[in-house]
């Protein structure tokens, strides 16, 4: 009675094959990641030092450190966040909690998805036209950050909307049934339980923003600025643009310096992602239902 039939055995064999194929694909996926990281670490690590991180480039950027670019990237990210987070979260709150499901809101949702699909060079040209020329911000941190903000808005909106919608609808109904307004419901029940997802989205945005090159190269990033930015109207160096320059625009740059810049940049992005993942794990432990 309890013996495997031919059909059983065949199903079992096929299942083993399927599992092996999927596993192989996963490994194939990991290989390039490991190769990139490995190369960067091996070739870039010798360049990393306190001096490299905290001094300015010298000798036409063939020596010295990356400090102005590091500080510039932080400026760009922070200003971009200040612009995109309030707008993105407010828009997501409206779309998820207030807006009726009609043609207009569907069109807006479609627009957001499309905005996410616009190539970054198009954002760059838009930012140049809108912020640099039309608003006369010139090439500045403000113009570059606003361009980055426009580009990353969909990330914030989608992440926020998804974490808002992860809060069960029954909670909202229970509040409404007690006579709570939509805003009271959002403030007391919905937001406290979705803030974690929203913050995760913000961190992901940071990692994306810090790595972008195209949107800032026409709008505020400079190849070399001998001083740190003093206000949002200054031009600035940025890590991503600096990497582009030392690897393609300049000659005689020592290889290890180029790899060092790349390593710092990717370390920042990975660090942000790690924070985001850790945050997510921590908050999952606090799950309230």
């Amino acid at each position: 009675m309890f013996t495997a039939t031919a059909l059983n055995r065949r199903s079992y064999r096929r299942q083993s094959v399927a599992k092996a194929v999927f596993c192989l694909m996963t490994v194939a996926l990991v290989i390039p990641v490991l190769l990139i990281l490995g190369t960067l670490v091996v070739k870039g690590a010798p360049a990393i030092s306190w001096e490299f991180l905290f001094t300015a480039p010298t000798n036409n950027m063939t020596a010295g450190g990356i400090f102005p670019a590091l500080v510039g990237t932080i400026w760009l990210v922070v200003v971009a966040l200040l612009a995109s987070v309030p707008i993105g979260v407010a828009a997501a709150l409206y779309l998820s909690e207030y807006a009726p499901d009609n043609l207009l809101t569907r069109a807006i949702n479609l627009a957001i998805v499309n905005l996410a699909g616009v190539p970054s060079i198009v954002h760059a040209l838009f930012g140049f036209g809108a912020f640099v020329l039309f608003f006369r911000f010139n090439a500045s941190i403000l113009a570059a950050s606003l361009t980055l903000a426009v580009m990353t808005l969909p990330v914030v909106i989608v992440a926020t909307r998804e974490s808002l919608q992860a809060v069960p609808h029954a909670f909202r109904e229970a509040c409404w049934n007690m006579g709570a307004t939509r805003w009271q419901t959002i403030r007391k029940v919905v937001l406290p339980n979705s803030i974690s997802g929203i913050l995760t989205g913000v961190i992901l945005e940071v990692s994306r923003t810090s790595g972008e090159t195209a949107p800032i190269m026409f709008t505020g990033a400079a190849m070399f600025v001998p001083f740190l930015p003093q206000s949002v109207f200054d031009q600035t160096m940025a890590l991503s643009y600096h990497l582009y320059n030392v690897s393609t625009q300049l000659t005689d740059v020592p290889e290890e310096l180029t790899y060092g810049v790349a390593l710092v940049l990717i370390a920042i992005v990975l660090l942000m992602n790690a924070v985001s993942i850790g945050f997510r794990i921590y908050l999952r432990g606090l799950k309230k239902w």
Binding site: E173, A174, W176, M178, G179, A180, Q184, K288, W289
Partner: protein, 271 residues
């Protein structure tokens, strides 16, 4: 009073005071549909103060839709359309400009318990706080009174700070009832409240409901016909969007019906 389907006059109840005075709820020609699909058609009836009004009927008979129309949840439900009129305390529910004020006077208990992801204390203090009660002592008093009435106080009094959403299903349902009572409602709507509750707890809640009748009016939607028999003074039978019959509960259960379908449902021949 209007003519219509079985608008039986209320009669003295066997377990409570006689209700008198004008009805608290007057429903006239009520039709409800979702995206053009009718859920309830041409229902007209009255509900009186201090009665427990039972609504029985199989799934998709329009019971829940009626409750949602009562506290104007159509405002929050895309595609839900309500025709006809519902007056509460003589005022048309459509005339309330501030729906939140209307809803805050109607307690609602849904089939599946919803412990808000707040502490047990904050769950019950939610509605009093919306009303502007801020004093700790006053809130403490409301929380203890409502939890006690909902037969939950003894089980949670030592952990009022723990999350309401992590209580057991039966406890969450009693928490939901405590929350509804904390609104100090004039009207309590119960929608199949005992689905997620064990029989012993159900009996305890039913006892609470009988006590509450002296203070408020209860509309009890249930798919347990025996629960309607135990609690309701009058019972309405809804079937696929039609108000088939309405009458004193004992009459319906003793076969004193105008429509044979009612007896058929009560005796379990369908539904």
């Amino acid at each position: 009073m209007v003519d219509g389907v079985g608008l039986a006059q209320p009669r003295p109840s066997s377990f409570g005071p006689l209700y008198d005075g004008p009805p608290i709820i007057e429903v006239r020609d009520l039709g409800i549909s979702y995206g053009g699909k009718p859920a309830l058609r041409d229902a007209s009836f009255d509900i009186y103060r201090h009665e427990i009004f039972g609504i029985i009927g199989p799934a998709n008979s329009g019971k829940t839709s009626f409750l949602r129309a009562l506290n104007r949840m159509d405002d929050f439900t895309t595609g839900m359309e309500v025709r006809g009129s519902i007056h509460i305390n003589g005022k048309d529910v459509n005339d309330w400009r501030n729906l939140y004020a209307l809803r805050s006077r109607i307690g609602v208990v849904l089939p599946l318990p919803v412990g808000l992801p707040l502490s047990v204390y904050d769950n019950v203090a939610f509605s009093p706080r919306l009303r502007g009660i801020r004093k700790k002592a006053q809130l403490d008093e409301v929380v203890e009174r409502c939890l006690t009435r909902a037969a939950l106080w003894d089980e949670v009094k030592d952990r009022l700070g723990s999350l309401g959403s992590l209580l057991s299903g039966g406890q969450q349902q009693r928490l939901t009832i405590a929350r509804a009572l904390s609104q100090e409602p004039e009207l309590l709507l119960l929608d199949e409240f005992s689905i997620a509750v064990d029989p012993v707890t159900t009996m305890r809640i039913e006892d609470v409901l009988k006590d509450l009748r002296s203070e408020l009016t209860i509309v009890l939607v249930t798919n347990l016909v025996q629960q309607a028999r135990r609690l309701a003074d009058r019972t309405a039978f809804f079937l696929t969007g039609e108000l088939v019959e309405i009458g004193a509960t004992e009459d319906l259960f003793e076969g004193n019906v105008k429509d044979e379908r009612t007896t058929g449902y009560i005796e379990g021949r369908y539904g």
